[in-house]
Amino acid sequence: MTLTETRRHAPPAVVARGLTKVYGQGDARVHALRGVDVAFATGAFTAIMGPSGSGKSTLMHCLAGLDTATSGTVHIGDVELTGLGDKQLTLLRRDRIGFIFQAFNLLPTLTAEQNIRLPLEIAARQADQVLFDRVVETVGLKDRLGHRPTELSGGQQQRVAVARALISKPQVIFADEPTGNLDSRSGAEVLSFLRTSVRELGQTIVMVTHDPMAAAYADRVVFLHDGELVSELVAPTPQGVLDTLMRLEG
């Protein structure tokens, strides 16, 4: 069996059922999510797209255990997030989830290497040196490990963040607009690292983006609109993503 076939038979990494999220009270009530059902396949690179205010960030926060949903369930692997306390959620994030944010991804007091190893240290786990070398090699940071974030370019900082997310071999990596603050060349680099890690390391990645070019790196794109899942594309092209978006906006 090939790697791809194994994945096809594996259960999905993240599953959400009937997810709703309501902010505020009374007249100020805002429905950010209105019953979202979605599953993210293991070993796949999935993008969540949608116009501003469509609820894509809220969806990601609820999936990653950063925020709690008003109703509905979320499973990461075989663990149900709903009803977990803060401590259990924290440990779940620590052990099973990796994060890449749009900005302010790194701790300014730590070097690149210390930043990469941070999740393992928080969990008091030994780093897999082979994996570490491979990850560092992949993202091309070998000669920048001793530098602090302020001495790195934006693209390099984001590559450190990618390496940090990969190092703990999480069940799923959530990336929130990872290229939002980068120029197009650096953005393209980061996205290809993400795709490479899916292809070669079997990593599962869920990425929120509003950039059709970025979404086109994914295996599959799901579209949100007004808190509802409205469409999806498999093996997307930039043009296909753009067309779908235009249709939704229109």
């Binding site: 620590r94 944010f101 900005a103 302010f104 941070l118 928080i122």
Partner: protein, 837 residues
Amino acid sequence: MLKTAMAGLRAHTLRLLLTSLAITLGVGFIAGTFVLTDTIKAGFGQRVTAEADKVAVAVLPKAERPGAEPSTPSTLPPSLLERLRALPGVTDAQGLTRGRTPLIGKDGKAAGDMPTSGVSVASGPLNRTTIVAGTGPGSDDAAAVLDENTAKAEGFRVGDTITVLDHTGARHPFKLVGLFDPGVDQELAYTGAVGFTPAAAARMTGEAGFREIDLAGADPARLKQAVAATVGAGVEVMTGTELAARLAAQAGVEIDAMSLALLMFGLVAMMVAALVIYNTFNILVAQRTKEMALLRCVGATRGQVFGSILIESVVVGLLSSGLGLLAGYGLGVVTMRVLEAFDAPLPTGAAVTLTPSTIAVGLALGLVVTVGAALLPARTATRVAPVAALRTQVEEQTFRTGVLRMLFAGLFLAAGLGTAGVGALALQPGQPSTLIVVMAGGALTFLGVLILGPVLVRPLSALVGWVPRRLFGVPGRLAVDNSGRNPKRAATTTVALTIGVTLMTLISVVTASTRATMDAKLDEQFPIDYMLASQDREAAVPRSVGASLRQRPELRDVVQIRQTTATSGARRVRIGAYEGPLQPVVKAGSLRDLGPGEVAVRAATAAEFGWRVGGTVPVKTKRAGTVSLTVVALVDDDTPIPSLTMAPAQFDSAFGAVPDSSVLVNVEDGISPDHARNLVDAAVAAYPTVKVSSSTAVRGEFDEALDMLLMIVTGLLGLAVLISLLGIANTLALSVHERTRESALLRALGLTRSQLRRTLSVEALVLGLIGALIGVVLGLVFGWAAVRVMADGARYAVPGGQIAMLVALSGLAGVLAAVLPARRAARASIVGSLAAG
């Protein structure tokens, strides 16, 4: 701008509350000191006025020349009383007698540390004694009254029979008919007092003359003139009102000294508060960079931004000083209640008042300190560029060690250490000028360290963070890194703590050194087991006591010391001799053999009179006329021998067989302390005024006094430390605010809430330890200088345990200060914080 300033105050209530607390505590302490002293003074005033109101005119002997060695105070002759009584307009005249009349306690020995004073209690309108239980002696010569504190201490009650010694040492029984309050008379409060009828008082004290004559009559002013015309020179005449004013002033001097000492601590607290406020306003300005920039964008001038910060500081200063005044009033009330409960010899009756001058000083001080501390931060605020409003990220403050900073720090340190070094090493110890030089050096050094602070923070945080870094894993490592992140802010925060810790270390070093020095001196020069002496060290031990003790084989050494007062030129001196194996420490000359016509002089006395070895000293003696003595040796001041020491035989022939004033006894090895004590006690059983003290008891009392001093000073400095903790809490709160997103990132990556809290706690621990460490080093250095200048040959001792505890407590206090900011950081929502600006 006023509106924005007020809105700013409302928005940052909590932060400003902490700041206010710093000012409130400082002002409260200072106001409390004033309230307390004002109240005590008012109490004295009330008492004195009530007493002196009874007197129309008082006649007193002229005050003695100050500086003369103590002698019997001059008195007014009884004939004067008769003459005054006969004056027209005088309705009553009473002489006040005072002398030594030792009260015998229930153990058969003279009561208290000093012989009790015997005073006359007048009957009739001129009776100024306040009877608080029973009655006065009236005209019953066999009745007596005791002051209430002595009665309480010795366990006497009204109705008991008390035994009092007269001036010859003969015992007289008296019926205790009442208790009285010695009032504002500090001497009576100190010695304890027995009151008799005037006749009994004269008999008991053996004093024929009066300390004061009080006259009753109408029109005090005219009476005063008439009296003044009668009494002639050498006598002071004043009206009752004038007497009241003088007594109140005398009492006030002591109160003022106490108040001054307390105010010093208050000022230290205010200095620390100023640092805390400076930091807080810096924090507020940093937090509101965007707000300031926005104001600038919409057209506010630099001046207006500056003004808005100053208005905030004025409001904070006024409010917290006002609260401070209330706190001070409360402090005054509580302290008066405590003093009352402990029967302190102070009047506690007066109403506690907040005088207008206290209010003015409190408000002014609070306002000046607050606004003064806010000036620099306000200037920083004006430097915010309008474009900062558009930036999303808070800029990390970078700190580079500037050449200028190093230069200034170096200059101050060199000047400070140089000055202190010169004072400590080259100048004469024990002189006030030396002390001032060393203090100036200390202040300069402190300024140097203050300037150097930001440079010291990083290496020190690495040093003190070594253990937490290894002990607490990721939280520990992050915390140690964070503590050195903004060195300027960390330095200001820790310096506030450093001030308190420096002073605490200094005082503990000084007390430990004093103890060590005294112990060493006692061991070297005064290695005695028992001392026999009367309460007032007068010649009261018959020579036979020492002679008989010398016969006992259980006792190794017996030294008899005797002395009397003589005059040399116009001045009084204490002159005497000793017998026995005592080895005074000779500073100049030689003390092999004191021959006829030779004298050894204590160094301080020699310095005072300008005598040198080889010079001659004229001394007027009782039996041999004026003799000329040659100075052959100068001896150390701590040696327990008279100022001028002659050979025993020469002393006797010059002054007669004066009894011993003290007998020092050393016990042979192997003799049980109980047995030795019984032996010594038995030797003096017949002499109630001779008391036996053991060196362990003396050291114990000395240690107790030192411990008490240390405790009081430490307690007073505790206020400064408390205020500096508010500063640490404030700084951490800002760190939490600035690192909102960073904390959120860590939480997203799997740092638990308790780990995040721990990060903050460890950071506070590191800050606390840095402050304590600098403080301890400074305190040790200053302490060394202080000990050097205190006295010649003083020993330097470091109370390791106390200092270790001080450091540990500082760390712990830092951790406590982190509790609230840490809770706040841990509670923040991750999603909200990640999204935040």
